[in-house]
Symmetry: C2
Subunit: 406 residues, 2 copies
């Protein structure tokens, strides 16, 4: 508990006004004063600053409530640009995004198993491609990466596939681009993305986004804030043990982790094994390298092997989500990532298993749905952390380097 | 985001001063002003009110820092009393507690399988016994009960053993005793108790208390606040499925829940079954009703059957805690409840299993320890919610009925 200083109050009030404008399509000064309980003079002064900053504009007049018609104010979404990156398994992707989470320009580069400094060079390459396309004040760079991230220090603590360990990614990017940089775990970024730009979330609500791609992770938003836990690793659902006896060996060294049975990688591996065993006709050349796309096509054509393997994986997902819902009791669960391309039957099996392995009172109000942002969830989440950090949006202000989530 | 009104600011400042006094053994007015950033005049006015309320006292003089020696202020822990109840499986327990969580008087009554209105009568009986022993202003009644609780409305949504469903316990107690009443799930109460009165917690830190007794539940404290989830049921670890194939039927209707293999009830049942099967000599009359106390005695004497069953149960606990740590990444895990009487070997097996079924980076900083409050954790937690709600402590103030956790 602390008393606010005068400067803190000033920043708080300014952010409060901006928040009100961002959360309303259009709003008058008088309405802002009513919503925020600030005086009309304070609101007018702040609005003048925001107009000068070019962050908002007067967009017309509203209906009169007795006196003269009030002037309506609105955010100018294209007054700033933000850079977001998703360091996904096979393909690094980046985009220029505006203040409403609209993607202006995208770029992507195949990874081809590059790691270490070669992976870093790829990050530079994608940023070098995108930055010249940004003709507005650039707020900063957000990066969603697999692995454990220390968001406060901008360090990738451990990302096995990229061979990054205690890797100071934020500092490297700051040194090269002289911009604020935010590093987030990819699943946590997807959660912030879906919370901020996915539809239908009540303000200050909670949700969990489960990101099922090459690996499996999740991001937890509690009362509108990303929850990262004491070590930054909250939401690590991929290594929850779901096969209690005789599970497969996981890359983490344990056996029976969710990732060994429900990730995109696990499904491809399982199909390969079973196709080899059965010499199934549907997989004409079981020796060739089966991909997730092929599994998806076979699945959509009703191939029995694909149906069986995907359905098994969904049951394990349901079991893991059941445990997560029991512990968190958060009613909104969102699925994102490659595996969502298996569509409604995959989702239905997950929900069915969850309902049959949970206390009914825990799951009766729980909704499990697909995300709204598709393949852009991580990119949009990595930029949302900046768009939500209003102090960063002011060109005349010293950069507030501190990460404000959590 | 909201601007504070003048009245809210006044209450906030008063609570800020009281908070500072409570969190320091003794403190001067000048130190309070420095810590809180409030003006000396504001602090002096508030301190005068607190002295008049009898909540604090001037207890001596401190060292001079140049001028005259400052008068030191301290909380008067025995200026108020609080009533706490733990509606534990076999035995309802209650206590009169002071503002520092010290128990002044206890009472307990055997339940003997009573439920419904008979269980309510038992609650009345225990309160009727305790209340006359309370000669100071009584702040309110806190109750920790098994089952799902709607804390805001004070309703026990579902407590199977007590046969309470949508049971308005708070209103019933308010009508009878005309006092503020707080109803909490027992594991959540234990968590608040250990957080508030257990030693060694950093302010605003997070911890999970796993309460292993007749059933199994947990309470999650995040940044100093009880996290209850969207439906009040957060921390429901007892019905996480840990036996993925061929698990026992649980009272919840599912199979393989943690409660079926790791609760006190599960252990007693398992010993009974195995003793019957093996006609083991250590359990001379396998037909008689074996109790947890007997299992504990046998365990301490090295009985192989007891060792085997308790160790199995600890492995399942470790597996469930591993999942919880993966999701929450909270570094402090506290075990409370009857099962803690199996002591260090039980704890060591739990920790060992957790470490071997978690990502090493998730658990490397995780501490699993016994609680500090023993059998009083639930009682002390149910009173802590009132002791921490400073507005309740003012005799001249209208009661703030709203529950302020979460």
């Amino acid at each position: 508990m602390k008393k606010a200083t005068r400067q803190q109050t000033k920043v708080h009030n300014r952010n409060l006004v901006l928040h009100t404008i961002i959360n309303n399509e259009s709003v008058s000064r008088a309405e802002i004063a009513r919503i925020t309980s600030l005086t009309k003079t304070t609101v007018s002064d702040i609005v003048a600053d925001l107009l000068e900053e070019g962050l908002i504009a007067e967009i017309g007049v509203g209906e009169s409530l007795g006196g003269k018609n009030p002037i309506l104010l609105s955010l100018l979404p294209d007054s700033r640009c933000l850079l977001g990156l998703d360091l996904a398994h096979n393909q690094f992707q980046g985009a220029i995004v505006n203040l409403r989470g609209q993607i202006q320009k995208k770029a992507s580069l195949p990874v081809n198993d590059r790691d270490g400094n070669e992976a870093l060079a790829l990050v530079y390459e994608i940023l070098d491609q995108l930055i010249p396309g940004c003709n507005l004040p650039l707020v900063g760079i957000g990066v969603g990466t697999p692995g454990l991230v220390n968001t406060r220090d901008g360090v990738v603590v451990d990302a096995v596939n990229l061979d990054w360990h205690d890797f100071p990614l934020a500092q490297l990017l700051k040194d090269r681009y002289h911009l604020p940089v935010y590093i987030l775990n990819d699943s946590q970024a997807a959660a912030i993305g879906e919370y901020t730009y996915g539809k239908g979330h009540i303000a200050e609500s909670s949700l969990v986004v489960i990101h099922v791609h090459h690996g499996i992770g999740s991001g937890i938003v509690i009362n509108g804030h990303l929850f990262q836990g004491d070590g930054g690793g909250a939401g690590e659902i991929g290594h929850v043990v779901v096969v209690s006896e005789g599970g497969l060996l996981c890359r983490c060294g344990n056996r029976g982790c969710l990732e060994t049975v429900a990730s995109a990688q696990a499904i491809v591996r399982r199909i390969r094994t079973l196709a080899n065993e059965s010499y199934s006709n549907s997989w004409q050349d079981p020796a060739h390298k089966i991909t997730l796309d092929e599994v998806e096509r076979a699945y959509n054509l009703g191939d029995p092997l694909a149906l069986q393997v995907v359905s098994e994986s969904a049951r394990y997902m349901g079991l893991a989500i059941s445990g997560l819902v029991g512990i968190l009791n958060i009613h909104e669960i969102v699925l994102s990532g490659d595996m969502t391309s298996f569509g409604r039957p995959w989702l239905d099996t997950i929900v069915d298993t969850m309902q049959h392995t949970s206390l009914s009172r825990s799951v009766q109000d729980t909704r499990v749905e697909f995300g709204q942002l598709g393949a852009n969830a991580v990119i949009l989440g990595s930029t949302a952390v900046m768009a939500n950090n209003y102090s960063l949006l002011f060109t005349g202000q010293p950069t507030q380097a501190e990460f404000t989530y959590q």
